[in-house]
Amino acid sequence: MTSAHDIAARVAAGSSATTEVETSLAAISQRNAELNVFLYVDEEGARAAAHQVDERIARGEKLPLAGVPVALKDNLCTEGIPTTCSSKILEGWRPPYTATVVERLLAAGAIPMGKTNLDEFAMGSSTENSAFGPTLNPLDPRRVPGGSSGGSAAAIAAGMTPISLGSDTGGSIRQPAALCGVVGIKPTYGLVSRYGVIAFASSLDQVGPFAANVADAALTLEVIAGHDRMDSTSLPETSPSLVAHLKDGVAGRRVGYVKELVDGSDPDVAAAVAAAVEVLRAQGATIVEMSIPELQLGLSAYYLIAPAEASSNLARYDGVRFGLRVDGDDVAGMNEATRTAGFGAEVKRRIMLGTYALSAGYFDAYYGQALKVRTLTINAFQKAYADVDFLIGATTPSVAFPFGSKTKDPMAMYLNDVFTIPSNLAGDPAVSVPFGRGEANLPIGVQLLGPGRSEAGLLAAAQVLEDAERAR
């Protein structure tokens, strides 16, 4: 598919956005029935938006994403358009408002094509937890696309849209990006507004882009980032300049090659990371081999903090005001019947875990302890960044895995996020960029991690890896 940069350039030059929309719709209709990428395709809305973009271009407006089709994870609120979080509890709900990130895409001339599949309420790593069926990996339909933003990653891999948005709470952008062979960015916490993003774990959730290349991902992030007064945790500064720094390279940069971000991964993945390290070294970076043992504690802390926040965030799905309602004998009975029918097994598991972790008598031992581990993680990263500019490791322990291979054992599934979770705990940015191929010729994701607001440097390094990958 044509890149977002190229589409925006030719629409700005007078080519109709409608052409881009029709191309995207054709690609969607060709494979969506098979892959289950989109839960909802907004054909009419996309065509109408294309006309508006053409008019705005004709009026002389400068639109950085003019006519660029975009896929939206179905946990982003879109006014009048179904927004389900892939849950029966929200089936048929049409929000009365639009998420800030979507507003910004629209303002930039992008065209939302529809809503993509995810693990219910973003809880999962394979998109198998969707109430509306799994999404298949476009590169091998017997395998998962990763999750929870599996649909948005697959939309890029299947050439349906050049860019898409996902959300990353413990790796939900980077892991599916790695498994689908695309670029995914988890920005600094607070860089991108969460207003209108249906919360899973508020202190960890962050929206970010997918794209087929680093430059498109950077451009998309520039459009959606920057302060939003509707989100109190939004950072005060305006959007960073990213695309302009993509050619900065890595010469003179110090890169930490972290043992704990590779240990436990398959040999093909470890080999790809090692090869990426050599590319950076060859481009002038200084490689520092290091160990950050605290990162191994992240997984268990995450599986207390995220469910605890989720248990509270998901309390509002009670049958009273919106979404599913199943009647009961009284209010509590209605609440219970609605939630029993509306939530899937993984969501229920996490609500119970989180409720337990916050309960009187257990709070200190579980949630309180997890917060201490979170502080340890933050401090460990800070110590590392006193020595190096950024870190490198694997995004996932393996390439895309077959359906059903981890659904019986939640812990095996949770372990898929072991390399990505620490960045969420610390609130730091990280990028997954395709580099090398592994088992069954499937793509491997290399992860670059940096301190808060280091996106420009991380993307420049990702660009170095992408260039090397293309040259191979």
């Binding site: 929000p95 209108g196 109190s232 005001r321």
Partner: protein, 475 residues
């Protein structure tokens, strides 16, 4: 009401007050009472998926004003989520301040000189309002329940006192004084009937000097009268149980105004586990010192100070005048009285007429100009109008907005000519020789007897001072 000998009440109050902000605590919806149901709502105060709270600065300012008025210290504070399921709470958690409130460690001095400590005064959001149809009107057994979310997200400050009060009357005085302070700060309109202030009372009893007894919390009292009655009832209930050899069960109780009694809402065992944790959608609230100083400097005088100011216009205030001054400040009429005195009205008369006649006609205060008030008082002071006539004139000015001189003339309120009064006093002296004798011997109380007789004979048309002058002239 007081408890049987050998028992002491211990009362602490939690007072919720709605803040008079333009908008709600975390969204831009209007904060106004009485709009159509569910007309002042948005994704945030409806708790729709994806919505996020943004703290209202005006609410912070009013909360700080309350804190400063209550001599609290303002410190960096945080918000927590208090989790429990209830249909009128859209997110099924309430955003409230928990371990770090904005205001803490203050006090409130009551008019009787007692001091009540203020443990904290923190910010939180209000819930929606449920109406239960059918059954008893409560949620259990109702056929249908309706919820109005206009109140959802309205800013509240909860003011928590220490367990410092020892009688229901003192608790009532505390609530009344607090109400005056909240109105003075501009934080609240103090309209109890609209639910602008609600009281929860923690009540226990003990033998004086003994450790605190087991307490019960009476929820949602919405008038000063209910507050006092409920506390009295509850304390008597405790004493009766304890004297019977029973034990008090710690619980939350409901007050029925109709039945005049409290009943169990839920026991301690049934209490929710609120699973408090730090609200991840908000950041720490740390008002700058400059902001705090601005709020503190803008605070108007509080009721205690205003009462003291008003009392300075009478040289040796009687206890009736002290009470009157309390009424006047409560009604926000102290400035009016001070202005009247500055324009030449007699201070004692101004206080008396304001706390009685004007207080009674407060709803039509707009009809009474300062000039009319001063004129009426001057007519009374000069003897042109008797006290009774002056009261009648004031009442009519309040009712109609008319001119006091014209009203007095229209009613034929002309003082008795002095020779008429002189003749009348002479005949009364003759008719009551014993009383006259005692008066002449120095029993001044008898003056009141003769004034009463004169008033009776003239249907209140005479001036009391003139009668005394006439009596003294004959002594």
């Amino acid at each position: 009401m007081s408890l049987p000998d050998g028992w002491e009440m211990v009362i602490g109050l939690e007072v919720h007050t709605e803040l008079q902000t333009k908008t709600k605590l975390f969204c831009g919806c209007a904060n106004a009472f009485g709009a159509d149901a569910n007309s002042q709502v948005c994704p945030v105060c409806l708790g729709l998926p994806g919505s996020l709270p943004v703290l209202n600065e005006q609410a912070v300012e009013l909360a700080m004003a309350i804190g400063f008025a209550l001599h609290c210290s303002v410190a960096p504070s945080t918000f927590h989520r208090k989790n429990y399921f209830y249909p009128d709470m859209p997110k099924d958690y309430q955003i409230s301040q928990y371990d770090l409130p904005i205001n803490s460690n203050g006090y409130l001095d009551l008019p009787d000189g007692s001091r009540v400590t203020i443990e904290r005064a923190h910010l939180e959001e209000d819930t929606g309002k449920s109406t239960h149809l059918g059954g008893s009107g409560r949620i259990h057994g109702a056929d249908r329940s309706l919820v109005d979310y206009n109140r959802s997200g309205v800013p509240l400050v909860e003011i928590v006192s220490g367990p410092d009060m020892r009688s229901a009357a003192q608790a009532r005085a505390y609530a009344a004084e607090l109400r005056g302070i909240l109105i003075a700060t501009g934080a609240s309109d103090g309209r109890l009937e609209e639910g602008s202030m609600r009281f929860d009372a923690n009540v226990s009893v003990r033998r004086p000097g003994a450790p605190l007894g087991t307490r019960c919390e009476i929820k949602n009292l919405n008038s000063l009268r209910s507050l006092q009655r409920a506390i009295d009832y509850e304390a008597a209930r405790h004493v009766a149980i304890l004297e019977d050899g029973g034990k008090i069960r710690q619980e939350t109780r409901h007050w029925s105004e109709d039945l005049g009694e409290t009943s169990t809402m839920r026991t301690k065992e049934e209490a929710d586990d609120y699973r408090y944790f730090l609200e991840p959608d908000l950041v720490e609230l740390s008002p700058s010192i400059e902001w705090q100083d601005r709020v503190r400097a803008a605070l108007p005088p509080m009721p205690a100070e205003r009462r003291a100011t008003l009392l300075t216009i009478v040289s040796e205030p009687t206890s009736a005048q002290r009470d009157a001054v309390g009424v006047i400040v409560d009604l926000q009429l102290d400035r009016f009285v001070l202005d009247a005195v500055a324009q030449g009205a007699d201070a004692a008369l101004a206080i008396a007429r304001t706390s009685n006649e004007i207080a009674a006609g407060i709803d039509s205060l707009a009809n009474l100009s300062l000039d009319s008030f001063v004129t009426t008082l001057q007519l009374e002071a000069s003897g042109s109008l008797s006290a009774t006539q002056a009261k009648t004139v004031l009442a009519e000015v309040l009712a109609t907005g008319g001119d006091p001189v014209a009203i007095a003339a229209a009613r034929g309120f002309e003082q008795l000519a002095s020779d008429t009064l002189s003749d009348l006093v002479a005949s009364l002296v003759e008719a009551h020789p014993d009383e006259w004798h005692r008066f002449r011997e120095g029993d001044e109380k008898l003056a009141q007897f003769f004034i009463g007789q004169v008033m009776k004979a003239t249907k209140g048309q005479a001036n009391g001072k003139a009668v005394i002058a006439e009596l003294n002239a004959r002594r």
